[in-house]
Symmetry: C2
Subunit: 364 residues, 2 copies
DNA sequence: AAAATTTAGCAACAGCGTTGCGTAATAGGG
DNA sequence: CCCTATTACGCAACGCTGTTGCTAAATTTT
């Protein structure tokens, strides 16, 4: 949730979100944990915990007896107190997942979409899939909303699909509004890669630093987590990482430029040289590190996950070779912990994040 | 200023900063302006304005009589109520500027630095320069501090110069601490490019969107303003934009990789082909746009400003050629409005921003 | 001169985290 | 067994924020 002015209700939401972040990261926690992590006074933490307990979001889970003194009450998140559904809309498939408040993926389904599907066809597919999922767990009253991650360009703030690449029927479609009417649920729309990096950040907790999700799947995209929030850019169009030039004299790309990362990578995979393709991708990743100085790089996408070790090794090697001069300049490279579910799960977590994540203040 | 927990003092600072941002952007403003811009209630704005007036930061500047009704009181920032000094430490020169609360540069001086200067030599040069400047305006009690923008790598949070490129005596120098002791002033240390983009953001006001400052001056660097704040990355090392590969088969760069933007650009300038060099830089800029989706690109740096029109034209052309498909995907390209002062002025504004800018909350 | 309109502020209020201090629950020592 | 030290936790009062309800002031129009 984003607002401009700061009033006391913002304080409440912010500090509650801090405690929720602790609860999501640590399996159990007590008052002293939160005090240390946040710097709030013990009394303030007591009040926040009381509010969250009353709301059913956290609950006592025993006591800890470390020795002398009154035992401390241990709390835990109540994972099944809230759910969200996430959708990953790709060119040919719709993936739906059910995610709980702790960020755990409970169900995952994949269904085919008609070739060159229309908005109406997508809405029907969403409706059918959600009905099935909502039936599984009886989510009455606990379903926060639906998150949709899909290819762009799109307008995240207005829930508008501007001109989805390779889909003929998707020009200026007000998908969020349509879906909210059709499904009777709050809907959040975002680019696939942005949803994906949100999943990684949400699962790693508040200590997750600046990070990128590199996705190789019918194109190469990048999702960014910078300064504690998803970076979408001025027009929700950040992440066209595949269309950065890495070879000035390279072949012409569909975007009109020459030697884009995506076309060079594509030529290598066409030639069957996955190792070379991975090294090309790694050059692009190091370019990102030089520009943005990231703490984490997460690798994902169907085409990449077909050769996970090759890509992971290539990127790790390139990152280490570049950073060898400085031991303080460390970047962790990993495969996505959620595999093929990462986009859909992240879309769901974006919905949960709007309600239970750190609220943002957007200056004027 | 950055803090974790949110309490009522945060509310105060935040809403005061909102009003200050309005005052900095608009030359004069009245209560209704702030109400509309921020969403605060008129009564709350009255209180904030009263506090700022009492502090001498703003003052009444007449009334506005639009027609019927009681006239509205017009306020304005008091520019000379606070000052900060900014330093741009380059390899051979020290540039000092005096900046007021409105972001206006009052004095600018350049002095040579000894070849391969030491920390002690820099401190002496700073001390001499600041004494001169403080004498000009009699800044007693109104000088907020000193901001230093210099080449990295450095550690912004701890005020530590890790290993400044090309300077032998600068390994793990705690410059902020040293300077604070030597000068008796609060000191803020940051990378040159980050300081530079802060200058542009501070002057453009709160509506400034995601932006980059491209600096060509003994190397190519980039400073980033993302999501309403400077982006420094995980280790204050963001901005090594010159060391992104744009030509896989290009010449070897000092950084060890092949075909970095910087080395390709350098070869073009060595050959005297500035137009080509500018086009190479433009490819890099468009790479940034594809990745980050920026609203503004600001061009700066001594080497670039020797051929301002060539570079501006090349970058503008490349940006427009790439974005021609989409009229909604607009990026403004401009030369820095502060010219050679941009780094030093930005460093000064970072100091002012710490006191009178939007405070940040850093989740845990 | 009276009415209408706009601006501004006083006073009471709700809600936040903070502070001061008292109470509950445990382990260890006499 | 009782007392004490220790740790955890909450009640009550407080200071401060923005909000709400209402009154006063200053101006133009009728």
């Amino acid at each position: 949730m984003t607002r401009v002015t700061a009033d006391v209700t913002f304080l409440r939401g912010y500090n509650e979100a801090l405690v929720m972040a602790v609860g999501r990261t640590a399996r159990t926690f007590e008052r002293a944990t939160v005090v240390e992590a946040t710097g709030l006074t013990p009394q303030a933490v007591s009040k926040v915990i009381a509010r969250l307990t009353a709301g059913g979001l956290i609950r006592p889970a025993g006591v800890r007896r470390p020795g002398i003194g009154k035992p401390a009450v241990v709390y835990e998140l109540v994972p099944d107190s809230r759910y969200a559904i996430g959708a990953h809309v790709a060119r040919r498939t719709l993936r739906l997942v059910l995610v709980d408040l702790a960020g755990t993926v409970h169900h995952s389904t994949v269904s085919p979409l008609p070739g060159d599907f229309t908005p109406a066809q997508l809405l029907d597919a969403l409706s059918a899939g959600i009905d099935t999922m909502a039936g599984i767990g009886d989510l009455r009253g606990r379903l926060t909303g639906l998150g949709i991650g899909m290819i762009g360009p799109l307008d995240h703030a207005n829930g508008l699909v501007r001109d989805a690449h390779g889909l003929r029927h998707w020009h200026d479609v007000p998908l969020r509004e349509l879906a909210e009417k059709h499904l009777g649920l709050p809907v959040h729309l975002d680019k696939d890669v942005t949803a994906g990096i949100t999943a990684e950040a949400w699962r790693h907790g508040a200590t997750f630093g600046d990070a990128a999700l590199i996705m190789v799947e019918s194109g190469i995209g990048g999702g960014f987590w910078l300064g504690g929030a998803a970076h979408r850019g001025a027009h929700t169009n950040a992440g066209e990482f595949g269309h950065t030039v890495v070879d000035l004299t390279g072949p012409r790309c569909v975007c009109g430029r020459h030697g884009c990362l995506e076309i060079v990578h594509h030529h290598a995979t066409e030639a069957g040289d996955i190792a070379h393709a991975a090294r090309v991708l790694a050059v692009g990743v190091v370019n990102l590190l030089q520009t943005l100085d990231l703490a984490h790089v997460v690798l994902a996408g169907a085409d990449l996950l077909r050769h996970p070790r090759t890509y992971l090794a290539a990127v790790t090697d390139a990152v280490q070779a570049d950073a060898r001069r400085a031991d303080w300049l460390r970047t962790r490279v990993a495969l996505s912990s959620l595999g093929a579910d990462v986009i859909a799960a992240g879309a769901a977590m974006q919905v949960l994040d709007q309600h239970y994540g750190i609220p943002e203040l957007t200056p004027i």
